[in-house]
Symmetry: C2
Subunit: 395 residues, 2 copies
């Protein structure tokens, strides 16, 4: 039988970039292309203790069907935590527990967008989210990211011309892939523009707790007097990505629609996993754990950046990020970026070609993305040195 696939899924053809990425699954290759949390950042003993207790004391709750909105004690815990730590959440807001933060992007698109509608996003932006928007047949319009975040003047131009723009997608802290953090001034301007043009903001903050330098900037959601911000938070980077638990804080009218959408997608997020997160907040010092992993990432970020300065200082341009997982490096003009990436793979180092993060991934860019959380410290040293060797070949 010759299969006929939907238009929206057919646009997600494997591209040349994805073929390069495939090559990087070889375990002998140093993984500077990934985005996994460092394994020593997982609170393994705590999760084991909690899970044993949950399955001893409340096995039926853990194994039976739950409700689509999420495990009520966890919803309350997240609501209180986010109010206390980020001043997020007003009377009109509600909290949902979801199966990873990608599901927030998915449900936002499902409830707001018809096929052909426009999603405005930072350019570059996280490929997983871009593919999610594409999988609903949405058009993408990119707004350039500067060292202090989205170019808000360019955003205004896009808002003026966009057809049926339904939401603006932003990763304000340690943006993936650029590493940029949006300034408070720009956050305020973004909020004002969204309000003026009657467009929702989707604020995705997976990396916010991974700050290793500088000062916290208030979340856009903390300014949300008008019910126009959907906030996506995750436990993937501070607890575990493998258990797939995240949350969304948004106006209740919006979370009600998301709940209907979630019910039709996966019914509810696994109960055992939600109970693990809840018990972790209830019985352990989450704040201290976050401080601990900030220490892990500070060391790895500085190790990678110091080595880049040493080995690649004359070759690449980059801004040292204040947190997150990624370093976004610009290759010199005249260097063929895709060729550089292919040659890096030949030297057993995987990096991501920057074009993967563009709204049109057939466009060219001089950037590559490096990740410092997945490789061991030894891997970082070997990987950057190998890239330094490769750079010399271009002189």
């Amino acid at each position: 039988m010759e299969y006929r696939f939907s238009d929206k899924i057919s646009t997600l053809q494997p591209s040349a970039i994805r073929e390069i990425l495939k090559a990087t699954s070889d375990p002998s290759i140093i993984p500077l292309a990934a985005g996994n949390p460092a394994p020593d950042a997982f609170p393994v003993d705590e999760v084991r203790e909690i899970t044993e207790r949950v399955l001893r004391e409340q096995p039926i709750t853990a194994l039976q069907y739950g409700i689509s909105e999420g495990y009520q004690p966890l919803r309350e815990t997240v609501t209180a935590w986010m109010k206390e730590h980020e001043n997020i959440g007003r009377d009109f807001d509600s909290t949902l527990i979801l199966s990873g933060a990608t599901q927030v992007m998915d449900l936002t698109t499902k409830i707001l967008c018809n096929e052909g509608d426009t999603v405005i996003c930072e350019e570059p932006s996280f490929i997983g989210s871009l593919n999610c928007f594409r999988s609903y047949g949405c058009k993408l319009m990119g707004v350039p990211v500067e060292a202090d975040g989205m170019d808000v003047n360019a955003l205004e131009e896009v808002l003026k011309t966009a057809d049926n723009a339904k939401f603006i997608y932003t990763i304000p802290n340690f943006q993936n892939p650029s590493g940029a953090t949006m300034s408070l001034e720009k956050r305020k301007k973004l909020y004002a523009l969204a309000k003026e043009y009657n467009v929702i903001i989707l604020e995705d903050n997976p990396y916010g707790d991974l700050r290793v330098a500088g000062e916290n900037v208030p979340a856009i959601k903390s300014m949300d007097e008008d019910g126009i911000v959907i906030y996506a938070g995750s436990f993937s980077k501070i607890l575990s990505p493998g258990i797939r638990v995240a949350y969304c804080i948004a106006p209740a009218e919006i979370t009600a629609k998301m709940t209907v959408g979630k019910q039709a997608e996966d019914v509810h997020t696994a109960c055992l996993n939600q109970m693990i997160v809840y018990e972790w907040f209830r019985n352990y010092d989450v704040g201290a754990h976050i401080k601990k992993i900030q220490g892990i990432y500070r060391k790895k970020l500085n190790l990678m950046c110091d080595l880049i300065d040493e080995e690649l200082g004359d070759f690449v341009d980059y801004v040292r990020p204040e947190g997150g997982l990624f370093v976004w490096c610009r290759l010199p003009d005249g260097v063929d970026m895709l060729d550089f990436v292919r040659r890096a793979v030949e030297k057993k180092v995987a990096v991501v070609p920057g074009s993967a993060f563009l709204t049109d991934d057939t466009k060219s860019t001089q950037y590559i993305r490096l990740n410092f959380s997945t490789p061991t410290d030894e891997g970082i040293v070997k990987g950057i040195k190998a890239l330094g060797e490769l750079a010399k070949e271009y002189n």
Copy 2:
């Protein structure tokens, strides 16, 4: 802000039926409206032992990101098990692990259907799946279910007239809500028709292992020489629904697209949960466990049906199912079904109005759905007796 929601999600407005169902969340009400597995069917001690061991021996695999296709050892185990027990799976097929079987319906619709395409389904059918198809803006065309399954002559008429029909959705064993099991002859005819009209079959089999009488009928997927059947299997009814692990067996060209769709939805199914299922198959006698829960459900099914015969024998018509979780009862002509359901709730018994399972839930029907797995035995007795009392009020 006045929110503008997508057309596809706006069609999923809460209906009168759902308002009735809401009333049934009151814990003082006897839950004959639910569909939860019986709590004593969960292998609680085994899950606790397995989880403790997994988190001791392989914590990083359990807590780190996994791949979208699923945990490889579980994929292999499921593939071998289904080949051995159901003769399902050919060289062109591939197995995916998903976050509950609803995700199979979701991804099938996502990859095959544009907005406005048609999904052909049994009428009545599972409301969760119907809402999933609706959430992609699909039109539903229903085919009546008879005591031996889908009316295949009516199916042929629908296939002749349907616009852009992309797949036929069927629950061949102990169908939800009708309890009907499709005969082998009808399965063969359904397969032949799908092949002739170039339409995929989505075979959803959540209840197949819950047979309490009669003989197993071969799966439609076991006849699939042509790569036209997508098979949805689940561990929700034999192990636990709360851990949200299911699987899909379909031609690799189809599972490749589903993988892309899944990546954009929830990245992957929780690793810990997949490892629990894998270790359960590896270390315990799953066949013996299935026999044990068949015993539990045989007892509950017979208890409910014997009581219906006794208390409601002159009032309702029904066919005693050979398995599954539901009894589908027809009220006498002249009885207002929705009124009966409302009055049952007043008597503290929740049942589902049959109209919830129609492609157009504003149409009328004389049926109600009863569930025997969720209530305790005492609840079954009290519930059916209360319905018997209510029936007398109609004489």
